[in-house]
Symmetry: C2
Subunit: 218 residues, 2 copies
């Protein structure tokens, strides 16, 4: 219920060339309203009137700020995934700086993914629901943006293979997709069906899976 946080904490470098703060604040409210409603109901089932009402704003204001319902949604997507990719990249780089191994980097990225989903569950929900749809206006936006996130994981895997830390036999793109999927689905399940668990708990379980410590004596 309580959808904590905003997708759009990004500040938009306020001062420089910045539009009025008022306008920015309105857009924020609209993003927040839209993300939860669309996550719950889907894009088509969510009306602009609902979004406006939830944001405490008149319908006209939505169209003053966004060209259309789809544009509002697309900007929401772009913004959110940008945040996620940045967060993954940050985790990988931090590990590298600390002299960690590639497995450590993957582990750090899993955690970063979990933290993100914990903060923005609605966004994640909405993203997964739309990613594999075909024939949608924002299909290309979605693809580009997906690649952005998966590429970070692929990068770490590839480096690991080059360094001999990972088996040369692994299929980099496929493994990257599988890892992302694992985290995504496990996290959504966590939030939906056992929200009482702690992030550390979930992280530990996935970590174990990653390191193949499932079979064999713990």
């Amino acid at each position: 219920m309580s959808a904590r946080g905003t997708i759009v904490a990004m500040e938009s470098s306020s001062a420089a060339s910045g539009g009025s703060t008022r306008r920015e604040a309105t857009r924020q409210k609209l993003y927040e309203a839209a993300v939860t409603l669309i996550a719950e109901q889907g894009f088509s089932a969510t009306t602009v009137d609902e979004i406006a009402e939830r944001a405490g704003v008149a319908k006209g204001t939505v169209y003053y700020n966004f060209a259309s319902k789809s544009v509002l949604f697309e900007e929401l997507l772009r913004h959110g995934v940008g945040l996620l990719a940045a967060s993954l990249r940050e985790a990988a780089e931090q590990t590298a700086r600390d002299g960690g191994s590639r497995v450590d980097a993957l582990d750090a990225m899993i955690r970063a993914g979990l933290v993100f989903i914990d903060r923005y569950p609605s966004f994640t929900q909405l993203y997964v629901a739309e990613l594999w749809r075909t024939n949608r206006a924002w299909q290309s936006t979605l693809m580009v943006v997906r690649q952005q996130a998966v590429a970070v994981v692929e990068g770490v895997l590839r480096e690991g293979v080059e360094q001999g830390e990972f088996s040369a036999e692994i299929d980099v793109p496929l493994t990257a997709a599988a890892l992302v999927g694992m985290v995504l689905v496990a996290a959504l399940d966590w939030k939906s069906f056992q929200p009482e668990r702690s992030l550390d708990d979930v992280h530990a379980a996935l970590s174990r899976l990653l390191q193949g410590r499932v079979s064999g004596r713990g």
Copy 2:
């Protein structure tokens, strides 16, 4: 594009208590039409007129066979997931009969999952898109049915733990969810973004991940 196969190859034990075959055939056509359209566009964006047209049937026929658009969709869901769960169970049992280990069983289930998704990609797409939505009419249907599938995986994991084949430290429900997610997402990615790969290829990659043969010298 070419959405092969039907969700509903299930035969419905034809003879016994079976309604006329003609009616059943019409329902089949409607299921097929609905599943691809809804996978592409989502439930709300798909109109009953479209479904009827794609099925080559009059609109009135839709309402002669189903009480409403939502009911048609719900029956579609129930049917599809029933198929998946049965297929997973079958894979696990077959492995047991052959005297395979639990890891073998998990591996067989991964393959069964891939085969299912290969056959019914639209259904999978649609299922993933709807599963984590809240506030939907068919929410409970979906939950029940999800549990049905995940439970099969949990069962194998639990037996493995009891038998000492898996670490006692693993979190059974979470690991089960993660495994299902891994397969689901990897497969959807396969179908969407690199459809030229073979099922064996994808299976091998996931198998490796499962058995922790990612890190270390292959």
